[in-house]
């Protein structure tokens, strides 16, 4: 009877010594496994990075939450977001960032010349939610909000209208007869409308404009998969804290569907490629073992002659297939680790370690099963060989 430790030792030895014969198969399985680990581990990370980097895609993950006008017959004060709304929404799972916005008219005076424009009162999260960057200067942050600073960020088109030039950071302008420092020039990105507007801290707007009560909120989700659940939860979450009968949610469903469809195809393609690689690897093992069984016919005959039973021969070939696929799996996990490292470096993010371990373990189990499956039939065939015809085989 073949002992387990002998079986393992002999099979590993056999595979190591015949590594040249199995190198292609080994690499195919390792590559497939490695890719699988990288994609499963980094999938969500990649998706959320796509969101951040591509304004086109990012737009689809932004939910607009707003109070509808009550109507002419309503006498009570219109509803608006109370303090803490942003924090409440941020606490929902899948939310990346939230911002409150208020829109008001204004006129800027520079060099005795008035320009009408629309001013946005925004908090420090506005830029992140909308994926905005500056052309020059900087986009104001928390300090400006907390200290209610009189600063303004201008769209390029607006800057041209007011100043007739773009090097305006550091200039002072008067808005509604109050002096503001121009701290930044906005890069409008793909939404050219944004270039027409000015932006000042929401708190500052509250100080200098009448009736500033934010009635509009933008919520950015981590990935497009989060948009549905978040849009369902956001109203309930706010209603739990305040009266909000006229609260509405607006989602760019069309854009979202479009993106989801593209991503679905991309994912399908990737998983298909990986499956094909692994399948090919499995077939490679099967084919390699089949050839091995044939070319080792005489060895099988001799071993049976010296007392090996059918089951011993079977075990030996299965163990070789499993050893082979196990090596491939380990190599694949190595590649996977490398791939994840590379991906985190490229995305400037962190790898979810627990996922990495989980998927690595799963991959090893999977490749072992692959070896078992692919090795079974050749092994069965080897074990069933007639001892005499195997010995007579040249």
């Amino acid at each position: 009877m073949l002992q387990l430790n002998d079986l393992i030792r002999i099979s590993l030895r056999q595979v190591v010594r015949q590594h040249k014969r199995y190198l292609g198969v080994l690499l195919a399985i390792a590559l497939g496994t490695g890719l699988m680990i990288v994609i499963m581990t980094m999938g969500d990370e990649v998706k959320s990075n796509l969101n951040k980097d591509l304004d086109l895609l990012g737009g689809a993950t932004i939910i607009k939450v707003f109070f509808e006008d009550g109507g002419a017959d309503r006498m009570d004060r219109p509803e608006s977001f109370r303090d803490g709304s942003v924090e409440t929404v941020n606490a929902l799972p899948g939310v990346n960032a939230t911002t409150l916005v208020h829109m008001a008219g204004g006129y800027a005076t520079f060099d005795k010349h008035d320009t009408d424009f629309i001013m946005f009162g925004v908090d420090e999260h506005y830029w992140k939610v909308n994926g905005l960057h500056q052309k020059a200067g900087e986009l104001f942050g928390k300090e400006a909000m907390d200290k209610r600073l009189r600063v303004v960020v201008l769209g390029e088109e607006l800057a041209m209208r007011i100043f007739g030039r773009l090097d305006v950071v550091g200039e002072w302008i008067s808005v509604n007869r109050v002096l503001y420092l121009v701290v930044g020039l906005l890069d409008a990105g793909s939404v050219s409308e944004r270039g027409k507007w000015g932006y000042t801290p929401l708190t500052t707007m509250m100080d200098f404009w009448p009736n500033v009560e934010p009635r509009r909120m933008y919520v950015r989700c981590n990935t497009w998969d989060d948009v549905g659940p978040v849009s369902e939860q956001v109203i309930t979450a706010i209603r739990a804290r305040q009266k909000a009968d006229h609260l509405r949610v607006e989602v760019a469903w069309e854009a979202l569907k479009h993106i989801k469809r593209i991503v679905w195809w991309v994912e399908l393609f990737i998983y298909f490629s990986i499956s094909a690689t692994l399948l090919l690897g499995g077939f490679g093992i099967w084919n390699g073992m089949m050839t091995a069984v044939k070319s080792r016919t005489r060895e099988i005959g001799l071993k049976k002659a010296m007392g090996a039973e059918d089951i011993d021969i079977m075990k030996q070939f299965i163990a070789e297939a499993v050893a082979l696929s196990f090596f491939a799996g380990v190599l694949g996990v190595g590649l996977g680790y490398g791939g994840v490292e590379l991906a985190t470096w490229l995305l400037k993010s962190q790898a979810p370690q627990d996922l990495l371990y989980l998927y690595s373990l799963m991959s090893i189990i999977f490749t072992v099963l692959l070896g078992l499956g692919a090795g079974f039939f050749p092994a069965l065939r080897a074990s069933r060989m007639e001892v005499v015809s195997a010995i007579r085989y040249e």
Binding site: M1, N5, Q14, R298, E299, G307, D312, I391
Partner: protein, 226 residues
């Protein structure tokens, strides 16, 4: 009273070729005692190898009785036969006896593994068998780099390693020149006489038969003394 290692009575073997039944062995009687070295000669295609396979429990006979050390073995199951072979018989064939991608001592380890010999006891048994054929100096060599004669000597050592009661050899010198053929037969002789083991060797070579204790001819399905 000496007891035979193997005792064959009225053994027959037919091969079926489609509907046609071809009798190969037609009622053979044979006793082999410890210390016997029986040469079987005869024209090729007469069934010498077939007979040897049956004696080695690798092939079932069609009829007759076959006793090994007093036990009837003709009707054992496949698995029982395998168990029997582990300690009862050692085989040496004409060529290509050694396994690919193995070293000399690893070749000798397989019979011990299948026989369930504990790992710690194996090295001593392997070395003893290798010493008997003067191959200790090649212990860690890759098997496929040995010369034909050396390979046959290792095969003999492998057949001996489990200390079997009988050795079956099918033209073991068929691929060797005169010098190496002599050497191989001398190893067999020494082993048989020292360990009181039996041996049945199929051969074409009268020189080999001369080194045996008894020579038989297989012709038309029957065994004849010289």
């Amino acid at each position: 009273m000496r007891e035979p290692v193997i005792q064959v009575r009225g053994m027959t073997k037919d091969y079926s070729n489609g509907p046609q039944v071809i009798p190969i062995l037609k009622g053979i009687d044979l006793d082999v005692y410890p210390g016997d070295m029986v040469a079987i000669m005869g024209p090729s295609g007469m069934g010498k190898s077939t007979f040897l396979f049956i004696l080695g429990l690798l092939l079932p006979p069609s009829g007759g009785s076959y006793m090994v050390k007093g036990q009837e073995v003709a009707k054992l199951t496949r698995s029982q036969q395998a168990q029997f072979r582990r300690t009862f018989a050692g085989f040496v064939f004409q060529s290509c006896n050694l396994f690919e991608h193995t070293k000399v001592f690893e070749n000798l380890e397989f019979p011990l593994i299948y026989a369930g010999v504990p790992r710690k006891d194996r090295a001593a048994m392997i070395d003893e068998a290798l010493a008997k054929v003067n191959m200790m100096h090649r212990r860690n060599h890759p098997a496929n780099r040995l010369s034909g004669g050396e390979q046959q000597r290792v095969s003999i050592a492998r057949a001996l390693v489990n200390r079997p009661s009988i050795i079956f050899a099918d033209e073991p010198t068929g691929q060797l020149d005169l010098k190496h053929s002599r050497m191989v037969m001398e190893h067999f002789q020494r082993f048989v006489s020292e360990d009181k083991t039996a041996m049945v060797v199929v051969t074409h070579d009268p020189g080999v038969a001369e080194q045996c204790t008894r020579t038989l001819y297989l012709r038309d399905g029957n065994l004849y003394e010289q």
